[in-house]
């Protein structure tokens, strides 16, 4: 029999068997970062006009690898690995059955990843990571992507089982905040990925196998974006978990409010899904009323986003003042800037300010025409995903990996990690800045280098494309550095104990009301909103379907 005290102590360290499962995910994530990053470097070089790919490799093949590996594989694997560790740390060690389910999910995902990657490498699937019809890939690519999604469901179920078990053992108590957040993210993922699963299984696979020869492009894109927007929140919420729960502990402060954190996560669940049309604002065939409605719902995410901003500033300020910071901004200087676990995610947070502002512009219905399909969009999500999210994940990796491997982050590595983040910011400011500006000048995204027959407008883009290449090359140096640090933490760093930091809630915070964890209420509202936003337009899309399209291989 273990006493409660012993049990509490057990919880502090992630069990070794759970560590292995989490680490397996993290390995794949960083392999994806290396290959995807290399492709990113090649892309910026090609687009500068000064470099052509050797051996007949196509630009779109490289771009597909970059998008799939970084947008889909790196993110999903890192997130699931992080969440497994987080559940194990805050809700207790997985049971053997739960862990086995986790491993099954991992191998299903990995089989899918390998299958899809092989088809891309064979140049049978250069359809980019959104795999829009009527571009048609080899069926094995779609089956691979479907397996990635199904595998993530299986791993997600293991996490949910852990949560259900915790709730049963602790009736009437709010679950640990981090576990709660993991489950919100998993719930969102399960609900949204249903859309892409339907698209792939019922539309793309039969069509790529030749069982049917035409595909309804409008429906497939609508199903994709029903998934595609929550996808970006699936990336972002784990970063928010780090900000809300981990960072306060690292800076020696407290979580500003448990209730506020839970409320903002639930609001993200509600307002992340019924909004996919904001990616289809220029799409013919969707009634403008429903686009407008989804634009309104999109703008609602401003509320939890500003709640988050407020909560972050508040916990920083409270801590900084505790340390003797005076005046309006004296507290800011008192923060632990020399600690990579804080500074690296902090840079990510700062990047979210321009990123969020850009997002609001993108979603402003008619104003979307200004930026639609221009490289502004690429500049935008290299701030959100490739800076805010990724730097937060790097910052988390610097304690998570050594915690899982039983090693420590040395002083030199800590310093290198801060340098890495600075290099990343410099490279990204140049690359993303150039992308934003030249996007407003009309330069398209997802295009190989072209002079467009010497057109005046396209000539004006070239200096910015060179700037992109400069920024992108600096970023690639950043990728090499982070991989060096990660390799060190995996295999070479000195053995020792590293803390898995979990913040405590401020004693001034209100008690968390239980309705915040009443899934019946939240899931009902969530599904009601989805039905409200999608039922009529989908019926409309199906009843007035455009003529189906045969498949194209344009690469």
């Amino acid at each position: 029999m273990t006493t409660i005290k012993e049990k509490a102590k057990d919880l502090i360290k992630v069990d070794r068997r759970d560590s292995k499962l989490a680490l397996a995910h993290i390995y794949v994530a960083f392999i994806a970062l290396f290959i995807g990053g290399l492709c990113g470097l090649l892309q910026v070089l090609v687009r500068s006009g000064k470099f052509t790919l050797p051996w007949g490799i196509g630009y779109y093949q490289i771009l597909t690898i970059h998008g799939v590996l970084l947008g889909l594989i790196l993110t999903t694997y890192f997130i699931l690995g992080f969440q497994i560790a987080a559940m194990s740390r805050t809700s207790g060690t997985f049971t053997n059955k739960q862990r086995l389910i986790g491993w099954i999910g991992f191998w299903v995902m990995t089989a899918g990843t390998v299958a899809a990657s092989i088809m891309v490498l064979l140049n049978e699937a250069s359809v980019l990571y959104t795999f829009y019809a009527p571009l048609q890939a080899h069926w094995i690519f779609y089956v691979g992507m479907a397996l990635v999604v199904v595998g993530s469901w299986i791993t997600g179920i293991a996490q949910i089982m852990k949560y259900v078990e915790w709730r049963k053992v602790n009736p009437g108590q709010p679950s640990p905040l981090l576990s709660f957040m993991v489950i919100v993210n998993m719930a969102m993922w399960l609900i949204c990925s249903l859309g892409v699963a339907v698209e792939v299984v019922f539309q793309l696979i039969p069509w790529s196998l030749g069982w049917v020869d035409k595909v309804d492009v409008l429906l497939s894109r609508t199903l994709f974006w029903y998934f595609g927007h929550p996808l970006v929140y699936f990336w972002l919420l784990p970063a928010y978990m780090v900000w809300y729960v981990i960072i306060p502990k690292i800076i020696g402060g407290k979580i500003f409010s448990d209730a506020l954190a839970r409320l903002s996560f639930m609001l993200f669940l509600l307002f992340s899904i019924p909004v996919g049309f904001h990616h289809q604002l220029t799409e013919p065939g969707i009634d403008s009323f429903w686009k407008f409605l989804q634009v309104i719902l999109t703008m609602m995410v401003v509320i939890p986003s500003l709640l988050t901003a407020f909560s972050m500033f508040a916990s920083f300020e409270l801590r900084g003042r505790q340390l003797g910071g005076k005046g309006l901004y004296g507290w800011f200087k008192k923060l632990p800037w020399k600690d990579a676990r804080f500074t690296v995610p902090f840079i990510g947070m700062a990047a979210f300010i321009p990123a969020g502002a850009g997002g609001i512009i993108n979603a402003s219905y008619q104003m979307n025409q200004l930026i639609h399909n221009t490289i502004w969009v690429t500049g935008h999500f290299h701030l959100t995903l490739a800076t805010t999210v990724v730097l937060t994940f790097f910052g988390a990796a610097y304690w998570l990996i050594p915690h899982l491997t039983g090693r420590v982050l040395t002083k030199q590595m800590n310093k290198l990690a801060i340098i890495q983040a600075i290099i990343w910011s410099v490279g990204m400011t140049i690359m993303s800045g150039a992308m934003h500006i030249v996007g407003l000048m009309g330069a398209p995204r997802r295009s190989d280098f072209s002079t467009y027959g010497g057109a005046q407008q396209a000539t004006e883009w070239i200096p910015y494309q060179v700037a992109q290449a400069v920024g992108g090359t600096i970023l690639f140096v950043g990728i090499i550095l982070v991989l060096y640090i990660v390799a060190n933490l995996l295999w070479f760093a000195p053995k020792g104990e590293t803390e898995f930091p979990i913040g405590e809630v401020s004693e001034h915070a209100e008690k968390t009301p239980m309705w915040l964890e009443n899934w019946k209420i939240w899931l009902t509202i969530c599904i009601a909103l989805i039905l409200f936003a999608y039922t009529v337009p989908i019926i409309d899309i199906i009843q007035n379907a455009p003529p189906g399209s045969k498949g194209y291989k344009l690469w």
């Binding site: 500003l306 901003a309 407020f310 500033f313 508040a314 920083f316 300020e317 409270l318 900084g320 003042r321 309006l328 901004y329 507290w331 800011f332 300010i353 321009p354 969020g356 502002a357 850009g358 609001i360 512009i361 402003s364 008619q366 104003m367 025409q369 200004l370 407003l440």
Partner: protein, 40 residues
């Protein structure tokens, strides 16, 4: 300074910071809006 007024000014920096974020968003949005009106 009395204890009370110290407590009042506790989260002043936060208030200004969030205000700054809001302002930044508004300014960027209006700049884009200006471009939009100019072009379309």
């Amino acid at each position: 300074m009395s204890k009370k007024s110290e407590k009042d000014s506790d989260l002043k920096g936060t208030l200004y910071s969030v205000g700054f974020v809001g302002l930044f968003i508004l300014i960027s949005w209006f700049m884009a809006f200006y471009l939009f009106v100019d072009r379309f």
